[in-house]
């Protein structure tokens, strides 16, 4: 029993160390950028929140927004998964969007490296919404526009608070 506890804490210490090293490495890389060339994100200074914050907390931000959208219908914020996809998708030579979850693309490249399994794209589309007059969809460029330009001005929703309080409430 005691043995198991010791082993457990050793593992925990080890894991923390690895994470710490990873964080240091990222910091050392400094201005290193991971956005995919040819995506809207590549032309912007930072993500919807400071890049450092997003690197560590994007999952909480998205998960929090997910519950807000599904249960409360809030779709105006810059923290939506659709926004991520719109901005971070790159386009092929024929201007056809490449799925953000395709080999080497923004989401999968990092998640594969970090051995993170997530299944957003089992249900969600990996390419931006296609504007269509027929269906009455809002053309996404409008939201994308807002996402791209609103980095300086904080939105009404306080994300850090949401993250601290946990996303599953």
């Amino acid at each position: 029993m005691a043995n198991a506890i010791v082993r457990g804490s050793l593992v925990r210490v080890g894991l923390t160390g690895v994470l710490f090293a990873l964080a240091l490495a990222v910091q050392a890389a400094g201005e290193a950028t991971y956005v995919i060339e040819g995506s809207k994100a590549a032309q912007l200074d930072s993500c919807v929140e400071p890049t450092d914050f997003m690197r560590r907390n994007h999952m909480e931000v998205i998960e929090h927004q997910r519950d807000e959208t599904v249960h409360n219908g809030i779709r105006s914020t810059k923290h939506s998964l659709a926004g991520c996809i719109d901005c971070h998708t790159s386009y092929g030579a024929d201007k056809v969007p490449v799925s953000i979850n395709a080999e080497g693309q923004f989401c999968i490249a990092c998640h594969e490296f970090a051995a993170v399994g997530m299944n957003c794209f089992g249900c969600h589309a990996g390419v931006p919404m296609q504007p269509s007059a027929e269906t009455g969809d809002l053309p996404l460029p409008r939201i994308g526009h807002k996402v791209g330009l609103s980095t300086g001005e904080p939105e009404a929703v306080n994300v850090t608070r949401g993250v601290e309080r946990g996303v599953s409430e």
């Binding site: 599904v70 969809d137 809002l138």
Partner: protein
Amino acid sequence: MTTNKHKERVDTSRRGFLGAAAVVTTVTVAPGVVLHRLAVAEPRSEAVTSDVRWGMLIDSTKCAEGCDACVTACNRENGLDLQKQPKGEDADQQKKWDRQAAKWIRIVKVKDNLTGHESRLPMMCQHCEHPPCVDVCPTGASFKRADGIVMVDRHTCIGCRYCMMACPYKARSFIHETVDTKLTRAPRGKGCVESCNLCVHRRDNGTPSTACADACAAQGQGAILFGDLKDPEGPLMKKLTTLSSRQIREDLALDTGVRYAGV
């Protein structure tokens, strides 16, 4: 008046992006307008409230023989036409696949056993006030939104299908296959249950009506009327107060949000 206060806040944060004319219009109109009835297409920024309850009136006498515009429109709107039969070309496989593919709305034709009176009507999720599917869901994935829309949170749905056992309208579908192509507005994936959500993306983006109601109107039938069941001055309630309508399976007392006339 939280809605008005909120409106002002939204206006401030958006001032930079909206044209001057739009700002003037919104600010002038804002005090008198309740958020949900804004004609301006604007993604929702405040949580839905129970001030509205979305519902429908379906006049089966206007449902025209041979027309399935509502079904086609729903399939397009919600990406149901993107489902593909995974494998198996033989007739048996195809028949089975047709029973496995998700359908949110279908046309049903019924005949009274005694009088022989026939009626034709579209059936979909009835958006009950007391939905059995919500009661039975072990994880709470099946839920009723404040504005009366009954829907599934795919993120917590474990695919147990108990809601499908419990729904008296057989409104729900299980996704039996891996879905390759999906729309941003209608996520869909293997192993979850789904059903009509009254075009919830349209509700949240401020687009009026639903795909089925629009299609029915475009055909000239106008059998489907969509609206707010809590707005006595709205077109839906005005119609409901004058036209005799009923709920399907009234005996279960579920207080459905979709009402039928002429059945």
